[in-house]
Symmetry: C2
Subunit: 127 residues, 2 copies
DNA sequence: CGGAATCCTACCGGATACTG
DNA sequence: CAGTATCCGGTAGGATTCCG
């Protein structure tokens, strides 16, 4: 049993590659998933719109990322059989709940990015 | 300027690989960093102890992970010049603040891992 | 004990071309 | 428009060996 009130909660016990945190980070820790979830956090969006708003993502990786999120039940994919085809993507209920912890991590990032960069510079300069 | 009160906060504006969240996830999103931080959240530990408690990590990757965290100012490395050498690792103040958002993510992971797995099975079975 | 150095491989992910 | 298919290079990371 894992609780959330002790340090053991963060890692699960025992530490292994199969713990919940590891599993989730394996999924959302990739280069694009978090950014895509961030875009969809603003509301439904089409494939090409997501592609525009997630700077630098290739068509292949965006497709792959969206498929993964759909498979996880975090994103709903809706095909409108017009011509040409329209495909809308939106966060599911579960997907929306992910926004909260992601924002916590972003908050930390913004608050500490300066310190981290400074530390890196000092470390590199000291050699 | 990035605020933390809107959806735009999660992604930064514009979306690119240089936003704070992306930068931080590039650092902690790897296979081992989160697990190592989790171990050190319990307190100071020696190299070999961390290696034992983080199941599956190679010596190379543990060294690399710890160097990265030290460079970021999140971990302090202390060498005791005995023979043989003793090296202790501990979270810094900044490192300890990272435990909070990480726990938020773990909490989400634990709460949703079951649903995610079920969704994956359904998705794969439906083909 | 706690690494550094080297070698080697899988696979992540970009570029390109084609399809319904 | 929203993909799929194929090729391909760079690199993350494991195994092994050596060092203070």
């Amino acid at each position: 049993m894992v609780t959330t009130s002790s340090a053991a909660a963060l890692r699960g016990d025992p530490y292994d590659a199969n713990c919940a945190t590891r599993r989730i980070l394996d999924r959302i820790g990739d280069r694009w998933t978090v950014l895509v979830v961030g875009v969809l956090g603003d509301g439904e969006a089409r494939f090409s719109e997501i592609r525009r708003r997630v700077d630098g993502v290739s068509q292949k990786m965006l497709t792959q990322t969206l498929r993964g999120l759909e498979r996880d039940g975090l994103v709903r994919r809706t095909v409108h059989p017009t011509v040409p085809v329209r495909v809308e993507y939106a966060l599911t209920e579960a997907g929306r709940t992910l926004l909260e912890p992601l924002r916590a991590l972003q908050k930390w990032s913004i608050e500490h990015l300066g310190d981290v960069s400074a530390s890196q510079n000092a470390y590199d300069h000291a050699e």
